[in-house]
């Protein structure tokens, strides 16, 4: 789960990571009163969107006081930044920047260790820095069995060539950011820029935070930060019903069990000339109710002309899937054809159930490739 800058900064504050003081605003008036509450001086107004590049898109503006902030915000609200419409802004006290650094803590699945990256060349495109000045981007993996230790900070700070007199303050910020990384089950904490002010303070001036979805059960306060308004309504419906759904542009609705098999099904539908309308993984061990729910999600997309069920049961039982299809046909109004391929655990029973009920718009196929060809033909014929 990706967090907005203002949410990340709220967490920074709670975990002692020094950051900018500010207010969230959803209207121009809130921007003005926020700027007043911040002392009436110079502020920065920043679009809150879950994507990068908002600076270039005009989503970040410095303002010389409340009135100017309101004026600048008026131009930011509604701004479309890479498909994300700006509905909220963050108004923060401007800081006097002496230097801009870069800091990130990511979850490196290859090394199976957290990776810290630190550079004194922050504030700009860090991927370009990594390519053009690789020595300027220090990278260091932390051994979780050792944990955060003073020597680790020293290695990182010396490798990034941070001046010695900043070691204590920058090191302390990194230490606290890592404590937060652990405490909130983060997959990413990125601070760009990490600002050294003209008075020598060290401040996280931006916040990009991603939290592990699998760990949200122990962070209800973060779970509650989810911006349901901004999400695609179908994807939101799927999330609430615990199925993994990604909307695509085609006409063939696809449902399978297991991300790999569903991805492969998309590929094969594409290969035989069809265009997938979605990715939908019902997960392991789906019961009949979940199948009904999943079908509702797929059918909420009016572009869907035919649906492919591709199930290879392991922990999922094919008879449960068959019962789900039959239940859905009873409870929902389904006019599009459904091609069903069932294999694996309890497949004989599943196929038998469907054959006995014999609903007119359900077509059984024995192989994935045949099923893909059939559904594409049906979608085109529809």
């Amino acid at each position: 789960m990706d967090l907005y800058e203002h949410q990340g900064k709220e967490l920074f504050g709670a975990h002692g990571v020094p950051t900018t003081e500010g207010r969230v605003a959803t209207t121009v008036e809130e921007v003005r009163s926020g700027a007043v509450a911040l002392g009436g001086g110079r502020v920065v107004v920043k679009a809150q969107v879950l994507t990068g590049g908002r600076g270039k898109a005009g989503g970040v503006k410095v303002a010389d006081g409340p009135d100017d902030a309101a004026a600048k915000a008026a131009a930011i609200f509604g701004l479309d930044i890479k498909g994300h419409v700006t509905r909220r802004v963050w108004v923060e006290k401007a800081v006097d920047i002496a230097k801009e650094y870069y800091l990130s803590i990511t979850f490196d699945r290859g090394e199976k260790r957290p990776l810290f990256m630190l550079s004194t060349m922050g504030g700009m495109d860090i991927e370009a820095v990594a390519v053009d000045h690789p020595d300027a981007l220090a990278r260091l993996h932390l051994d979780p069995a050792i944990g955060m230790r003073p020597f680790f900070l020293r290695r990182l700070l010396f490798a990034a060539r941070v001046p010695k007199d900043e070691h204590r303050a920058v090191g302390s910020l990194i230490e606290k950011a890592y404590a937060m990384y652990l405490a909130i089950d983060a997959m990413l904490i990125e601070v760009n820029p990490l600002v050294i002010t003209t008075t020598g303070e060290v401040i996280a001036a931006d916040a990009k935070v991603t939290v592990d979805d699998n760990a949200l059960f122990r962070h209800p306060a973060i779970e509650a930060m989810r911006d349901t308004a901004a999400a695609d309504p179908q994807e939101q419906m799927a999330r609430e019903r615990h199925v993994t759904y990604v909307k695509l542009d085609g006409s063939v609705g696809i449902l399978g069990n297991g991300a790999g098999l569903v991805m492969s099904t998309l590929d094969v539908v594409d290969e035989v000339g069809g265009s997938p309308a979605n990715f939908l993984d019902v997960g392991g061990g789906a019961d009949a109710d979940k199948i009904v729910t999943a079908l509702e999600v797929i059918l909420s997309d009016s572009k869907v002309k035919a649906i492919l069920f591709n199930i290879f049961g392991g922990i999922t039982r094919c008879d449960e899937v068959a019962r789900g299809i039959l239940a859905a046909l009873e409870r929902l109004t389904i006019t599009v054809p459904i091609v069903v391929r069932l294999d694996g655990t309890n497949d004989l029973e599943g196929r038998r159930l469907l054959a006995e009920a014999a609903p007119p718009n359900v077509f059984a196929e024995r192989t994935m490739l045949d099923a893909a060809r059939r559904v594409v033909a049906l979608a085109e014929g529809a």
Partner: protein, 290 residues
């Protein structure tokens, strides 16, 4: 011979009394796996269809000589269960549980790896050595014994390809689902190393998907260390960039980690890649002379 799951396997099931735990435990035992014990705290002394249940893994190991554990407990208790198995001296832990927090697994992995304790998974279907033993949720009836070693990040896609091979009359030495989570215990390289050393395995099939660079690293390993023929398949060719497809591993970041990049890396290192499961099965069958 087979790998990981063999005739030497003596299985203890953690979470045996849960609905899924009981169902798959009994299926595993019916297949021939030596299921010697189960563990559910507070139910020590009971039995599940004749299998003795213990309060702790340590008790189960002491009483039954279990050397392999299958973890079937809910995600928030799974890390504890893996530590318990490791601390009790189990040599292989197969973790079926899906949805374990990544930080939990990072800590678990850092504990297990230097101690040489093998973990398969989490969020994996387990391992099946046809005709010998099955530990996990792989639907065994689809597969027959043979010379093809199959390793995959994705559970059901493994079944798909194994099923396609079976249609062509090809059996398997072992089918290994390594799982698709950010932190897994057994990597492609680990499985390739085991298959290379296994006399029963003649051909290896590895099934990958978009995201990360594990397939690329495995290809390097094949080039340097694997003399047996290796075939590959990569799912996710049509996945749109930047969209999560259900696995944390299936996130495309920039150009690396795409299906095209992975296919190219594999092909360059001598691993022939099929464009769909049916094709890869046909390629393997051709090589095997069927």
């Amino acid at each position: 011979m087979a790998i990981l799951v063999t005739s030497e396997t003596r299985l203890v099931v953690q979470g045996i009394t849960g609905r899924e735990g009981t169902f798959h435990t009994l299926k595993n035992r019916d297949y021939g796996t030596k299921v010697v014990a189960g563990v559910t705290p507070g139910k020590g002394g009971e039995t599940v269809d004749g299998i003795p249940v213990f309060d702790t893994v340590a008790q189960a190991v002491a009483a039954t000589g279990a050397n392999t554990s299958m973890v079937f407990v809910p995600p928030r208790f799974a890390a504890d269960a893996i530590y318990e198995a490791a601390d009790a001296g189990v040599a292989l832990i197969v973790c079926i549980t899906e949805g374990i927090p990544a930080h939990d697994m990072l800590a678990v992995y850092s504990y297990l790896a230097p101690r040489g304790i093998r973990l398969l998974g989490p969020n994996c279907p387990g391992a099946l050595s046809p005709g010998i033993a099955n530990v996990g949720i792989i639907p065994a009836q689809v597969f027959a014994p043979g010379g093809i070693g199959l390793v995959s990040r994705s559970g059901t896609l493994t079944y798909q390809i194994g099923g396609e091979l079976a249609q062509l009359g090809l059996g398997n030495s072992t089918i290994v689902g390594i799982g698709g989570d950010p932190v897994i215990g057994t990597s492609f390289i680990d499985a390739l190393t085991l298959f290379q050393a296994d006399p029963q395995t003649e051909i290896i099939v590895m099934v990958g998907e978009i995201g990360g660079n594990e397939e690329e690293k495995a290809a390097d390993h094949v080039l340097a260390h694997v003399t047996k023929p290796v075939f590959g398949y990569i799912a996710g060719r049509t996945a749109p960039p930047g969209k999560t497809m259900g696995h944390a591993g299936a996130i495309i970041s920039g150009s690396s980690g795409t299906a095209a990049a992975k296919v190219a890396a594999l092909e360059e290192r001598g691993v022939r890649v099929g464009s769909n499961p049916t094709e890869v099965a046909r390629m393997v069958a051709e090589r095997a002379g069927r």
